[in-house]
């Protein structure tokens, strides 16, 4: 059984069909890319997958369970986490606390033990700190644990978003243009990190990206969107060799 199965997903905004008859199957452990020109509907697909938008039509199955129309919170608990194209950090919180918010549903104690500082508070907080530091270490950001997240350089903000999403222990991680605004060196680091996450955390990845070096370097399969519709999908090499894809991209540029 595939981890993610989307069939005939559509959403209409007024007269615009931003996503139209979208189908996608992602197998467990895959590193899957979603590409296409600006305004093609890629982010909208993520918003549909995470319950931010409710689809006009279609069905989304995660691990065989129907999650269509569920709330963002239910969907996160079902196992989908994401990052955002325009970074959305908890800006006034420290780097460590951003990750710890992601751990919220994994490590629990009651408000009662928090207020009275019962032993369960201290022991759980300790575990949370350790887990959060472990996630930060994936991105070599342990040293910035106490930094207020708004003060991080741009590239690290993107990485922190990934660490925070991973903290929710997802089966499927959606990355929306993770390399946007990064320099080539940072992008290279990010590619290694993404590969590392796929291999070591048992997380399946679906990512939107414009950087073709990153896409061809790490994605095993691709789906190309254009004007809300699937242009083509399949193995990365085949897709990138497809003349229609080249045309869609050149047309956009």
């Amino acid at each position: 059984m595939a981890l993610l199965e989307i069939s005939s997903l559509s959403i209409q905004f007024g007269g615009l069909r931003a996503v139209d008859d979208f189908n996608l199957t992602v197998e467990k452990g895959e590193l899957y890319g979603l590409i296409g020109p600006n305004g093609a509907g890629k982010t909208t697909v993520f918003n549909l997958l995470t319950g931010e938008y409710k689809p006009t039509e279609g069905v989304i199955l995660l691990d065989g369970v129907d999650i269509t129309g569920k709330s963002t919170i239910e969907i996160n608990r079902a196992g989908i986490a994401r990052t955002f194209q325009n970074i959305r950090l908890f800006r006034q919180l420290s780097v460590l606390d951003n990750v710890k918010v992601g751990l919220h549903n994994q490590y629990k104690y009651s408000a009662f033990s928090a207020v009275l500082r019962l032993p369960s508070y201290f022991s759980t907080e300790k575990q949370m700190n350790e887990k959060a530091m472990e996630l930060l270490s994936v991105f070599k950001m342990e040293g910035e644990a106490d930094t207020i997240s708004a003060n991080l350089p741009y590239g690290k903000q993107r990485k922190l978003e990934i660490a925070r999403a991973m903290a929710t222990n997802p089966k499927l991680l959606l990355l929306d243009e993770p390399a946007a605004g990064m320099n080539p060196h940072e992008t290279q680091e990010l590619m290694d990190d993404i590969r590392y996450i796929g291999e070591n955390f048992g997380i399946t990845l679906l990512l939107i990206e414009h950087d073709m070096k990153l896409v061809s370097g790490i994605c095993e399969k691709l789906t190309v969107l254009n004007f809300g519709r699937i242009l083509t999908q399949g193995d990365t090499k085949e897709v990138l060799g497809n003349p229609e894809v080249i045309k869609a991209y050149l047309g956009d540029d």
Binding site: T50, E52, S71, T72, I73, N76, R77, A81, R82, F84, R88, L89, F90, R91, Q92, L93, S94, L96, D97, K100, V101, G102, L103, H104, N105, Y107, K108, Y109, A111, A114, V115, L116, R117, Y121, T124, E125, M128, N129, M133, A145, D146, N151, R164, A165, A167, T168
Partner: protein, 351 residues
């Protein structure tokens, strides 16, 4: 994770500050160095500081602008005074006041919860307007509420005392625009100090927990908080209700310090709500300690500068506007960050 120890040190400083003020006041008092005017301010100081802690939870931590917090204080004041009047003869002073405070908090908390259901679905300005209206409604309602008691039990009316239909021996407890008179004087500075201290410890411990982080995450980015599975409505309700409970307890402290409790605009109107907001804003939105300090400073300064009383609200308004601009303008914030003392010191260490 120096962070952890830094915040707990910070919290300890706040708590020690409150204790220190209490100890100093007690020493000055026993040395006879506090005049009666100052002495009369001690309980209100505790009330206002507690209100500042309460409102900071909603405005600074949850990030919602509530302009009706005097309403929750009003509910706590009346509910607790009512309780104390009913049980004036049948209970000892200490348990009665303890229950009165708990009831003030509980009733205000119930109202906070019920009002939170519709209000917290609104955003920004709308929420501010609706909470403002709520505060005014509560205050006005208290001015037309009559409650009496006779052998048959309690009687309620929103018209006048006559329509309560009480027996001859009936006793009027809440008398419309005349409010409640003769509430026992159970409040004192020590109890006020304990309420302030407990509220502060409660809120600080809450902020530094998974619950507090969830609330601040919602404040900083609602969509991102939802994406990591934070139940947004539940935590908004939680913060709002806890804040109302604390305001209710402050109200109980307040009402047991007054010979007659009347819901006047000066005590429970929107000017009061705005004053609480000034405490929070002046204290540096989100800082519990700052809010407490601001509440004390702004309560004492007008007493010292009585001749300026006429301009008080004007000065508050100016302070509010200036602080809002400074706090919410990204450029001024960047400037403050770049020029903060800690940053200066750190730079020196580095070089």
């Amino acid at each position: 994770m120096k962070n952890m120890t830094k915040t707990s040190k910070d919290n300890l400083t706040t708590i020690l500050m409150i204790v220190a003020v209490y100890v100093i006041v007690m020493i000055l008092r026993s040395a006879g160095l506090i005049n009666s005017q100052m002495d009369g301010l001690l309980v209100p100081l505790c009330v206002y500081a507690t209100m500042a802690v309460s409102l900071n939870l909603v405005v600074g931590i949850l990030g919602e602008l509530s302009l009706g917090h005097a309403g929750f204080m009003c509910i706590g004041a009346f509910a607790s005074a009512f309780f104390s009047k009913v049980f004036e003869q049948s209970m000892g002073v200490f348990p009665r006041f303890l229950f009165a405070i708990l009831i003030g908090g509980l009733v205000a908390g119930i109202f906070g919860f019920l009002i939170g259901i519709p209000v917290l679905r609104l955003k920004g300005d709308y929420l501010a307007i609706v909470t403002l209206a709520f505060g005014e409604i509560i205050k006005n309602l208290m001015n037309v509420l009559y409650v009496g008691r006779d052998a048959n039990g309690l009687h309620f009316s929103l018209k006048d005392a006559a329509s309560l239909g009480m027996a001859e021996d009936g006793e009027l407890i809440i008398n419309g625009p005349l409010g409640i008179t003769g509430t026992p004087f159970d409040s004192n500075f020590t109890i006020g100090f304990v309420i302030l201290l407990l509220s502060t410890v409660f809120v600080l411990n809450l902020i530094n927990s998974r619950h507090g982080r969830a609330i601040m995450a919602i404040r900083d980015n609602r969509i991102a908080a939802g994406s990591v599975g934070i139940p947004i409505t539940r935590f908004k309700m939680f913060a709002f209700t806890v804040s109302a409970v604390i305001a209710g307890c402050a109200g109980a402290l307040y009402s047991h310090n007054l010979s007659s409790l009347i819901a006047t605009p000066a005590r429970f109107g929107y000017n009061m709500s705005i004053l609480f907001l000034v405490f929070v804003v002046l204290g540096g939105i989100g800082s519990t300690r700052g809010a407490i300090i601001a509440s004390i400073a702004l309560t004492l300064i007008p007493e010292v500068l009585r001749f300026m009383a006429d301009y008080r609200m004007l000065i508050y308004a100016i302070v509010l506007i200036v602080m809002m601009i400074v706090n919410w303008n990204p450029r001024s914030r960047a400037w403050i960050q770049a020029h903060s003392l800690t940053k200066l010191f750190r730079r020196k260490e580095g070089s």
